[in-house]
Symmetry: C2
Subunit: 237 residues, 2 copies
DNA sequence: TGTACATCAGTGAACGCGCGTTCACTGATGTAC
DNA sequence: TGTACATCAGTGAACGCGCGTTCACTGATGTAC
């Protein structure tokens, strides 16, 4: 049974895409809490009730934006990392890590509202449905895990030794490690978390304006230097 | 000219405090964007226009909350660090750093809404007035700077060497270092930033629920382990 | 100490606004025979 | 290929709601003489 796409079908998917695009722009201009179906309808050039043909509720529109945001971020990151591999091979994990980090930062600065929706203050009264959100939401950590794991496995990075993990934590991380395919030990999982959090901490401070006014080249150099320190924390040189 | 406090004066300061407390609770329940003067007035048991005797506008109420939040956080951090010094003397910078970190985390988890107001997505359309916000907003970094600097100076911590900072960054950080009294070099300033960002990245992920559901002892152990890694990044052992 | 006036907290009505969502409807597009 | 029916996008009116802010007011509290 070959699927047929009628003009109506095509119009529908196009309208859906337009709705998401409009919502994204409004998010950027006024924040998640101010996102309104009526405003989207208005900009779409359609009466306010018509929007319900496409989106069942305001919360659903938010979910659409969340999924779209995670996906775009992951695609930006993947594209950057894979392009780097294309060019230089897989031999330089430090460069890959920096590429990944800069991709996150660039994306966040370009679309701070969506970045905030994904990594900032939760929207009050809204909880993203895990079954739609988990898969796209974990793509970046998984890529990060891949980069670090390859380095740890082939010896390009050596985890600095610290005090051993407490047992509760160790067992929890060991079972979590299964899902991540690669990192061999709980210590690696813990470090992965810390690197992840530190990276997004750096980006969040800049995107949310916590640093105050730094001019662009300075901010960029500071971030780059931060990536070096974080990499060193993970034993990457 | 001795100041007299009439009953009216006392009533006023008390009402002001009550307004801030109510606003803080509403922030917690519904988020910054939903904070409304009318709702505060309602809960205060007063007609909606009466609130204007105390707060000139909604934005001003937000500023009050921001200042109050920074101040309470700084006081929690200072109290924890100073209590630690009281007990153990000043000789253990690693313990002081961990104390500081845990104080930030505990405070953030206890009042996630205010934490989000200070360190999360900016409230759309609102910009905190720097002249009221800067002083309380920098207290925690300054304390962090103090802890790290003491360690760097007396040799308890040694900054790992990395590639030299680019010139733009170095000169910017050198001039910034003046304001911070202590860290002798631009490299220290850069590391201070990274530690600061990494610490708040860790806390933000947990407060904002990015980690998903971890039970309490696990989350705590993971955080504690993260602090160790961050400290190591700064050369603290 | 007592009185006249000024200050201030709180009232109640009103303004104009935008929101999410429902509903019965019209007319165009698609489908089955 | 032509017709009858079903599906769907979009309309327009309406619902009940909460918001920030202004204004003229009343009555209690504070201050100066």
């Amino acid at each position: 049974m070959p699927e047929k796409f009628t003009p109506r079908d095509r119009a529908r998917t196009q309208t859906m895409a337009e709705i998401v695009a409009i919502a994204r722009r409004q998010l950027l201009e006024q924040g998640a809490a101010a996102l309104s179906l009526r405003a989207v309808a208005r900009e779409l050039g359609v009466v306010s009730s018509a929007i319900y043909r496409y989106v069942p509720s305001r919360d659903d529109l938010l979910t659409l934006l969340v999924v779209d945001g995670y996906t775009r971020l992951a695609e930006a990151v993947d594209a950057a990392v894979l392009a780097h591999r294309e060019k230089h091979g897989v031999s330089d994990p430090m460069a890959e890590f920096k590429t990944l980090g800069h991709a996150v930062r660039t994306w966040g600065l370009r679309d701070p509202a969506t970045y905030g929706l994904l990594f900032g203050t939760p929207v009050p009264g809204y909880e993203a449905p895990a079954e739609r959100t988990n898969a796209p939401g974990t793509r970046v950590v998984l890529r990060l895990a891949e980069v670090l794991t390859m380095a740890w496995i082939d010896g390009a990075a050596v985890l600095p030794e610290g005090s051993p993990l407490p047992d509760v934590l160790r067992s929890e991380l060991d079972s979590l490690a299964q899902e991540f395919a690669a990192p061999p030990q709980a210590d690696h999982m813990a470090m992965l978390f810390h690197v992840w959090a530190a990276l997004f901490g750096l980006v969040s401070f800049e995107v949310f304006g916590q640093f105050g006014a730094l001019n662009k080249p300075v901010a960029e150099a500071l971030f780059d230097n931060g990536l070096l320190s974080i990499a060193a924390m993970a034993g990457l040189k």
